[in-house]
C-alpha cells in the first residue's frame, strides 16, 4: 500500500463516518465559519461527533465504526524514539511529545484526522462574533484527581501560557486570546483581540490541553513529570531515557478507553524499534524510511503510510552572522542538491520540499517549485555579499543516525561554493540550549508540522514566532523583507475564507523560500507499523499518534 492509497482510504473512512452522521445539533457551524474544509463537511463533522457522544466523556473525536465490537483490556506496548521533552503542555516543545500528551490530556476541542474541528472537553461552542467564542464544557468531566473540569481551569490554562514567567512555547499561539471570561462552572468565553481563523486548530494542539488550576499550582515543577489532567490515561511513571507508563483513567467514560495500560519504551535506535515489533516486544512503532521496504514485505504486521505535515529543514537564526545577509542564505539554499538528500538520507521516501506546507494541507502551494541547485548563481550571490573568497561558520546538530549524515552532505555540498561549515554534533538538550543562546547561526532540527498553516508558518518564520530564535537576540531587528512577511502572516490569520487564505499562504511560502528565511530539504511521509493484535488505528494528518483510541484483540 503506498502513501496515496492510504491517504485515500483514510478520506473514504471519514466520508463513511459522515454518512452515518447523527442529527445535527449545536448547529453553531463554528467549523464552517472558521473555514476549515468546505462548509458542508465541516458542519456535519461537528454534528457527527456530537451526535454520537453518549454520556460524559464518550470517546471524543473517535470515529470508531462500532465501539461495542472492540475488546476491552490489555497493555499496549509502544516503542518510541525519544522521551517527551516534558509532560507539561506549556513548557514541552518536542514534536514527539504529542504522542504522549494526547492520551494524557483532553483538549478543549480536538483536531480531527483531517484537521477538522472535533469536540473535546467542550462539546458545544458558539462563535458569537468575530472576536468572541463561547465554549460549553461537557457536564461531569473530571480530572485524574477527581476534581471537576471547570471554566476556571480553561481560563487558568490560557493565562498560564500567556504568563511570561511560565516561558511557554504556546505563548505565541494564544497571543490573540485577549482574555478568557468565566461565565459559570462550565461556560467560558474567549475574547480575541484580532480575528484568528486558526483558533480551533490552535486549541486542538498542545495549547488547548486543559490543566487543573489547583493541582497544577500545587505541584509546581513536578507537574512536568506527572501531570494531572482529564485525558483517558493517567501517568503512572516516567523514567527518563527508559519508559513512560500510563494507566486507564477509570472514571473517564464507560467502556472507554479500551486499553488498561500503555507502556511506552524509549528506544532511540530505529532498527531496534522495528526489530521489537517483529519479535512481538512492541505493538506500535514508527517505521524509519530505511526500514519501509522491509516493512512492506513483512507479513503479520499492519503498515499505515500517509502524507505528513512534517518537513526537514535547517533552522536558521537570521540574527547571527554571517546569515544575517539574505544573499548568503540564498547562496546556501541554491547550493544544495535536495534530490540527493532525499535519496541518500530519506531513502527516497517523501518529496523534495517546495515550502513549509506539505500536500497534507489545503494550503500546499502546488505551483511553487523547489529551490533549484544552481552553483553559479550561488557563487554570484556569495560574491555580491562580499564572501567571494569563502565563508566559514558552525552549524549545531543533534547527532543521530539521520542528522549526522545529512549534515555531512550539507558540508560537502556547501564546500563546492567555498563555504566551510563546521559540524558541531551535540545531544538534543545541548544543541537546543546552545542554539537558543545564539551560539550558532544554524541548527539542524526538523519540524513535525501542525494542523493549520498559520501554526507552522507563524511559529517558525514570524519574527515573534516561538521557534524563531532570532527574536531572543538583542541585536535583532527584523529587516524590511521580514516585516513584510510578518504582515502577510498576520493578515492570513485574520481571513476566514480558505481560498483567500491559501492565496496569501502561496505568496508567503514563495517569499520565504526565495528570500531563504528557511532552508528546507524534504517533505516527509508518515509510516507506522502495528502488530496484528492492534485495532482501531486512525492516521492523523498531523502525524501524531492517539494511543488512547487503540484496542487489542482479545
Amino acid at each position: 500500500m503506498n502513501a496515496r492509497q492510504t491517504w485515500e482510504s483514510m478520506r473514504l473512512g471519514r466520508r463513511q463516518a459522515l454518512r452515518g452522521a447523527g442529527i445535527g445539533l449545536a448547529g453553531l457551524s463554528a467549523a464552517a465559519l472558521i473555514g476549515c474544509g468546505d462548509s458542508d463537511e465541516a458542519d456535519s463533522t461537528t454534528a457527527t461527533a456530537t451526535g454520537t457522544s453518549e454520556g460524559p466523556g464518550a470517546a471524543p473525536s473517535v470515529t470508531t465504526p462500532d465501539a461495542s465490537a472492540r475488546s476491552m483490556g490489555g497493555t499496549l506496548k509502544v516503542a518510541l524514539g525519544s522521551d517527551p521533552t516534558g509532560l507539561d503542555p506549556s513548557t514541552s516543545r518536542g514534536g514527539g511529545d504529542h504522542h504522549y500528551l494526547y492520551s494524557i490530556f483532553d483538549n478543549l476541542v480536538n483536531n480531527g484526522p483531517d484537521f477538522s474541528v472535533k469536540p473535546g472537553l467542550a462539546t458545544e461552542w458558539e462563535v458569537v462574533d468575530d472576536l468572541t467564542i463561547r465554549f460549553k464544557i461537557q457536564d461531569g468531566r473530571t480530572f485524574h484527581d477527581g476534581s471537576p473540569v471547570t471554566a476556571e481551569d480553561v481560563k487558568y490554562t490560557i493565562d498560564r501560557h500567556k504568563d511570561p514567567e511560565t516561558q511557554s512555547y504556546s505563548a505565541g499561539q494564544v497571543e490573540s486570546v485577549e482574555s478568557v471570561e468565566v461565565v459559570d462552572d462550565t461556560t467560558a468565553i474567549f475574547h480575541l483581540n484580532t480575528i484568528t481563523s486558526p483558533i480551533f486548530a490552535i486549541l486542538g494542539d498542545r495549547n488547548g490541553m486543559i490543566m487543573p488550576k489547583e493541582a497544577t499550582q500545587a505541584m509546581g515543577a513536578d507537574y512536568n513529570n506527572k501531570p494531572i489532567a482529564s485525558g483517558p490515561f493517567k501517568v503512572d511513571s516516567w523514567a527518563v531515557d527508559a519508559n513512560v507508563k500510563l494507566s486507564r483513567f477509570a472514571e473517564y467514560a464507560e467502556n472507554y478507553p479500551y486499553l488498561d495500560a500503555i507502556d511506552v519504551q524509549v528506544v532511540p535506535n530505529s532498527s531496534v524499534q522495528f526489530a521489537n515489533l517483529r519479535t512481538g516486544d512492541a505493538d506500535v512503532v514508527t517505521v524509519d524510511p530505511k526500514d519501509r521496504e522491509t516493512a512492506r514485505g513483512t507479513d503479520n504486521i499492519q503498515l499505515h503510510e500517509w502524507i505528513s505535515t512534517a518537513y526537514t529543514q535547517v533552522n536558521i537564526n537570521t540574527a547571527v552572522a554571517p546569515i544575517t545577509d539574505m544573499r548568503v542564505r540564498q547562496a546556501l539554499s541554491h547550493s544544495l542538491n535536495r534530490q540527493a538528500i532525499l535519496d541518500a538520507i530519506f531513502f527516497g521516501e517523501g518529496e523534495v520540499a517546495n515550502g513549509p506546507i506539505t500536500k497534507a494541507s489545503w494550503a500546499y502551494n502546488e505551483n511553487l517549485l523547489p529551490i533549484p541547485e544552481d552553483l553559479d548563481k550561488a557563487k554570484q550571490l556569495l560574491d555580491a555579499a562580499g564572501f567571494g573568497d569563502g565563508l566559514a561558520f558552525e552549524m549545531v546538530i543533534v547527532a543521530d543516525e539521520t542528522r549526522t549524515p545529512l549534515s555531512e552532505m550539507m558540508k560537502a555540498q556547501w564546500a563546492r561554493i567555498g563555504v566551510d561549515m563546521t559540524i558541531v554534533a551535540r545531544s538534543a538538550e545541548e544543541a537546543g540550549a546552545e542554539y537558543r543562546n545564539q551560539l550558532y547561526p544554524m541548527f539542524l532540527t526538523f519540524f513535525s508540522g501542525r494542523a493549520d498553516p498559520d501554526m507552522t508558518i507563524y511559529e517558525n518564520f514570524h519574527s515573534q514566532g516561538g521557534f524563531n530564535r532570532a527574536k531572543f537576540n538583542e541585536a535583532f531587528t527584523p529587516g524590511p523583507e521580514a516585516l513584510a512577511i510578518d504582515q502577510k502572516i498576520e493578515a492570513a490569520r485574520q481571513i476566514y475564507d480558505q481560498d483567500e487564505r491559501k492565496a496569501l499562504y502561496d505568496e508567503i511560502q514563495t517569499l520565504l523560500m526565495e528570500q531563504a528565511f528557511g532552508i528546507l530539504f524534504t517533505h516527509r511521509t508518515n509510516a507506522v507499523a502495528l502488530s496484528s493484535r492492534v485495532e482501531g488505528f486512525q492516521p492523523y494528518g498531523d502525524g501524531k499518534y492517539r494511543f488512547h483510541e487503540l484496542s487489542l484483540k482479545a
Binding site: 535506535n269 530505529s270 532498527s271 524509519d288 530505511k290 526500514d291 522491509t294 542538491n337 540527493a340 535519496d343 541518500a344 538520507i345 547527532a399 543521530d400 543516525e401 549526522t404 549524515p405 549534515s407 555531512e408 552532505m409 558540508k411 560537502a412 563546521t422 559540524i423 558541531v424 554534533a425 551535540r426 545531544s427
Partner: protein, 298 residues
C-alpha cells in the same frame, strides 16, 4: 630480591646479548611466534595510517550520489556508505585517528600517571595518601564513564577525546608505578645512593624510574588497545571526533542502524578495531613474557 638482580638491574640489558641485537630479536621472535606476528600486525596498521593519503583509492569526504550504499565490489572493496563515500578509504583514514588518539592518550596517561605514582611510592606518607586517594576516586568510575564525563565537560573533538581517554587511564599507570617504586626503593643501591647524598629527585629519576620501565611498557601496549577501543566507543556514542572526520568508531556508528540494509558499513570498521586491538593485546602479552625477569632466558 636477590643480590644478583640488584647488580644487574640498573644496566639496560645483559652484556652477552648486546653484540648481536638482531639475532637476539630473532631468538625472541622464535620463542613468541604469536607475539611476533602481532607486532608485525601493529607495524602494518601504523604503516597504513601513515600512508593512507597515498594508498587510499578515494577522497574520504567525496560523496558519490550515484553509488549510495553499494555492496562491496571491485570499485569499492568495502562498499560505500549512505552518502556514497568509499568505506575502504574511510577505514584507512580512520586508522590515522585511531593510532594518533591511542598514542597521545597513552602518552598523556604516562606523562601524568607515572610521575605521580613515582612520587607517591617514593615519598610515602601524606603525599602518598593524597595522591593515591585522588587516584582511588578516579578509579571508582568506570573508565569509559569517566571519559564520557570529561568529554561532556570539555565538549567533543579529537583533542578532548585524547585528553579524556588519557586522564581516564592515568590511575592505572600511577598505581603501577607506585607499586614498582615501593619495591625498588627498599633496594640496597637506593640506600647507597641516599647515603652518598644523592638528592631525592635524582634518586627517583636515575635509579628508580629506569628499573620500573618494563611493566610500564607492557601496560602502555595494552593501554594502547584500550585507548583505541575507547576512542571508537566515544565516537560510536556520538561524543567523540566530530563528523565528517572518519574514525573507526564513527563509521561503525553510522553503519549500526543500517545493519539490515548494508552490513558492510559497520562490518569493516568493526573488523579493523577487532584486529588492531587484538594485535596490541597479543603484543602486550608477549612483551610481558619477554620483559618479566622471572621468565627471562627461558
Amino acid at each position: 630480591m636477590s643480590d644478583a638482580q640488584t647488580l644487574t638491574a640498573p644496566a639496560a640489558a645483559p652484556q652477552g646479548l648486546r653484540r648481536t641485537p638482531y639475532r637476539r630479536l630473532l631468538k625472541i621472535a622464535s620463542h613468541h611466534k604469536i607475539g611476533a606476528a602481532a607486532f608485525g600486525g601493529v607495524i602494518i596498521v601504523c604503516l597504513l595510517a601513515l600512508t593512507a593519503p597515498i594508498i587510499a583509492p578515494y577522497d574520504p569526504f567525496e560523496q558519490d550520489y550515484n553509488s549510495l550504499l553499494q555492496a562491496p565490489s571491485w570499485a569499492h572493496p568495502f562498499g560505500t556508505d549512505r552518502v556514497g563515500r568509499d568505506i575502504l578509504t574511510r577505514v584507512l583514514y580512520g586508522t590515522q585517528v585511531s593510532v594518533l588518539v591511542g598514542l597521545v592518550a597513552v602518552g598523556i596517561s604516562i606523562a601524568i600517571g607515572v610521575p605521580l605514582g613515582l612520587l607517591s611510592g617514593f615519598m610515602g606518607g601524606v603525599v602518598d595518601n593524597v595522591i593515591m586517594r585522588f587516584m582511588d576516586a578516579l578509579i571508582a568510575f568506570p573508565r569509559l564513564i569517566l571519559a564520557l564525563a570529561i568529554v561532556a565537560v570539555l565538549s567533543p573533538g579529537v583533542t578532548n577525546v585524547m585528553i579524556a581517554v588519557g586522564i581516564g587511564s592515568m590511575p592505572v599507570y600511577a598505581r603501577l608505578m607506585r607499586s614498582q617504586a615501593l619495591a625498588i626503593r627498599e633496594n640496597q643501591y637506593i640506600e647507597a645512593a641516599h647515603s652518598l647524598g644523592v638528592p631525592s629527585m635524582r634518586v627517583m629519576y636515575r635509579h628508580i624510574l629506569p628499573n620500573a620501565v618494563s611493566p610500564i611498557i607492557v601496560q602502555a601496549t595494552l593501554g594502547l588497545g584500550y585507548a583505541v577501543l575507547a576512542e571508537a566507543s566515544l565516537s560510536f556514542l556520538g561524543v567523540g571526533v566530530q563528523p565528517p572526520t572518519a574514525t573507526w568508531g564513527s563509521i561503525l556508528n553510522q553503519g549500526a542502524p543500517l545493519l539490515e540494509q548494508a552490513w558492510w558499513v559497520a562490518f569493516f570498521p568493526g573488523l579493523a578495531i577487532f584486529f588492531f586491538v587484538l594485535f596490541l593485546n597479543l603484543a602486550g602479552d608477549a612483551l610481558r613474557d619477554i620483559l618479566d625477569p622471572r621468565l627471562r632466558g627461558r
